[in-house]
Subunit: 134 residues, 2 copies
Amino acid sequence: MSSKLKFPEGYRLTKQRKAILEILENAEIPITAEDVFFRLKENKINISLSTIYRNLEMLCKEGLVIKSYVMGKDKARFALPDKKNYLICESCGKIVIIDNCPFDKFKEELKQVYGFDITGHSVEVYGICPDCKS
Amino acid sequence: MSSKLKFPEGYRLTKQRKAILEILENAEIPITAEDVFFRLKENKINISLSTIYRNLEMLCKEGLVIKSYVMGKDKARFALPDKKNYLICESCGKIVIIDNCPFDKFKEELKQVYGFDITGHSVEVYGICPDCKS
DNA sequence: CTTCCTGCAAAGAGTTTGCATCAAA
DNA sequence: TTTGATGCAAACTCTTTGCAGGAAG
């Protein structure tokens, strides 16, 4: 497997960076820095946690990665931008990505009301998942 | 001034709790625990930071307060639920609360597509504010 | 009075940083 | 060969916790 993402200019494409991006591409939901660490370890790749943090921060600044705090918890989670909107089950904690986020339709409305040029958004929705209802 | 909020049952209404709630009621935007601490101090009320954290956590659990991390920063912010949706200027960091969040209209859509019973949401929108555009 | 709450100080968790070494370009 | 990146360990910051004294009901 290899990354389909264009790597940001001005940075060296090290094997650590390639590996971190690949983990994020394969992740179904936002994951913590520690998750990245252990998933790499499973693949027999040992990268120090600080390198992971440093690169996640860089990737966030470059816009390739989104950082969020699921359910107000104290560990940051990271994901590619297409996984930044999600549902969380308040009962079991399951996370489900929202595809084609309906919020996109409101960019124009927000722009008119608040005068902001909208560049992005992130949405967290709480609820009870089908499994927990039954 | 006194709080208009009904205080959760089973807890003692101490002067510290009253004071913290009042700060949150008067806050325009989500603020940090430290912000609460210093605003209390300005009002000549000295409450320890740990008491503030303990009570903010309790208020979150009781649903009176919402915790969020603005712009992925590492300090938690707290606000009454009516201030949980906001715009952030990527240039100056200004926060503007979104009233009548348009996302409410999508509860039904999300329920049908994902099968969740939606109980709440929180939205963070990025953009450039009018002042920074000029 | 009883029980819960507070303040203080210390501990804990997650994240960041300094520095010597290593590897991408 | 040059300069940015990594790994390790130590440092830091925010947040949580234990405990003795204090106040709400």
